[in-house]
Symmetry: C2
């Protein structure tokens, strides 16, 4: 996002993405993430052209608190997915701590073997500097990956709150990673996130940790039984795995395949995607309005913000004034 490369034409990006060109895919995602108006318009045009080539991947959300071993899990699980002949893309939502502004994620080289694999595409997103619109940008990156032919898309979050709800709204399957030997409260995981999970996977189940992992598995399985049945009718599973020994990874993939099979048969899979599309529509509309204001009324808006800050105008009156300016500017379109 910092180094600005000369931009190509819409058709060039579209062609590159549809051909599965990783460099072009990366550049297209950069456009999606850019805050420059011209980039955003270019991105919107690209999305419009590739939209018919999207929707055919399995979308998996993965979360868990820092320390649970998300990168290690995604690396080993990802290689397993690829061993089934699937192309895999990994996207990350990182809502850096609002107050400290520090990035919770490590650097880009976390998943070394996976990032070197020609069937894998890894894209850590620095979402910390965008105001809202994080979900929006991640969704568009997801669509681009689908158009580029990736069969499985993993969306990773850092597991500390709000972003899980956003990820849930864009995936088919939501996986929560947990450590053995710690209650869910100990891991800072909120009940609401447990409720969203289609599966809990206890990581690091190797060596001396196997027994605690199996115990934790039983405990969580019991806890999940207490939750109301999800609209998918799927009973959330609890599994264990080890990124070191590779145990459990195949079972996790089989479980996800079973989920897709069952929910496709029941109609939930499609219904869920349809509902997600409706909420994408609403979100897209909000983004269009924001872009409109940015394009036609940026000065007016900043002027009103100053007046509000200086208490010369109430927030309500300023909003009304901006709306009227928006009406006025539209009449010229």
């Amino acid at each position: 996002m910092t180094s600005i490369k000369p931009r190509l034409k819409t058709a060039d990006y579209v062609k590159g993405v549809l051909q599965g060109d990783r460099i072009m895919l990366g550049q297209a995602i950069t456009l999606v993430e850019s805050n420059l108006l011209t980039d955003q318009q270019l991105a919107a045009n690209i999305i419009k052209k590739i939209i018919d080539h999207t929707g055919r991947s399995i979308r998996i959300g993965i979360t868990g608190v820092p320390g649970v071993g998300k990168s290690t899990f995604i690396e080993s699980f990802g290689l397993r997915v690829i061993s089934h002949g699937k192309k895999l893309a990994v996207l990350t939502i990182d809502p850096s701590s609002k107050i400290t502004k520090g990035s919770i994620l490590g650097d880009k080289t976390r998943m070394e073997s996976l990032s070197k694999n020609p069937l894998a595409f890894i894209r850590p997103s620095a979402a910390g500097d965008t105001q809202g619109g994080v979900a929006h940008k991640t969704r568009e990156a997801l669509l681009l990956c689908e158009a580029a032919g990736y069969d499985v898309i993993i969306i990773e979050t850092v597991g500390v709150g709000q972003s899980e709800v956003e990820v849930k709204s864009m995936v088919d399957f939501f996986l929560l990673l947990m450590l053995a030997g710690a209650g869910d409260e100990l891991q800072g995981i909120k009940k609401g996130i447990i409720e969203m999970a289609d599966a809990i996977v206890i990581t690091k189940a190797d060596g001396d940790n196997i027994h605690p992992a199996v115990e934790a598995q039983a405990a969580y399985q019991q806890a999940l039984h207490l939750l109301p049945i999800s609209p998918s009718r799927w009973q959330p599973k609890v599994l264990t795995c080890s990124a070191v020994t590779g145990s459990g990874l195949e079972t996790i993939w089989e479980m996800i395949e079973l989920y897709i099979e069952q929910t496709t048969a029941s109609g939930f899979f499609l219904q869920n995607r349809q509902q997600q599309n409706v909420s994408w529509f609403n979100d897209n509309f909000e983004q269009l309005i924001k872009a409109d204001i940015e394009q036609h009324l940026a000065l007016k808006k900043s002027h009103l913000e100053n007046k509000v800050a200086q208490q010369q105008l109430s927030p309500q009156a300023a909003a009304q004034e901006l709306l009227e300016a928006y009406y006025h500017s539209m009449k010229k379109f």
Copy 2:
């Protein structure tokens, strides 16, 4: 919100609220919370008329996980505030669990003595059924309470995540309640929430609990020292209190007065309110657009949603179509 009373004229509500009439205040808040378009318009007009009479209260956010004793604390602390001759309003944000739809809060009669006190106004808000806009509605309720002459406004949240960020964005002082004998992780409190706190209060510090409470106080005080200095330059305090014995309540009030005094002197108090106003302005604008769509294009929008769900139209294309319909409808204004 369910029983619809005949509506009065804007001027009647304004007059009632400014006179401190509790019934009128309650009805005005009901209008703010209503999803009926006519109610929303009435509410907007009322807010416009009372806006010059707002801003003069101390706004306090209080959070803590269920079981920490929030109601009991607010009841005893609130009576203490009132004993200083202050009028007190208590508003509640309750973002009921999205999935189970169950309300986390108990019923309205939680704060019995406080709710009977003529200087107190208690308003539990059922925010669970509104899509977004929770913060918006709470802010307007806050403004109405200020116009009705309340000197101290407490905004209570249930302490499980996202709503804390919203509350922080509308208060002067943010108070986190904690229990002794449990680490912060044990209480499901996230680091981000600790970072937002201007003070942590250890509740139930009485009887056998006094010693653990004092220990917890020392531990939290140490932990808070590790956090970066807040923009307010205020060093967050950790206090203990007991709603049963009343110990510590006066100290909490004095601390809040000290905070107001210090941040007023440093200019932070005003600066924070100004920033909050700017974000209220942006939020208000979004609400106006939503109301516009609801008023002029509800049918069109629902038609597009159906098309998106049936996959006859992409979310992106539908958003563009709604925007164009919006342009078109505006030209008639």
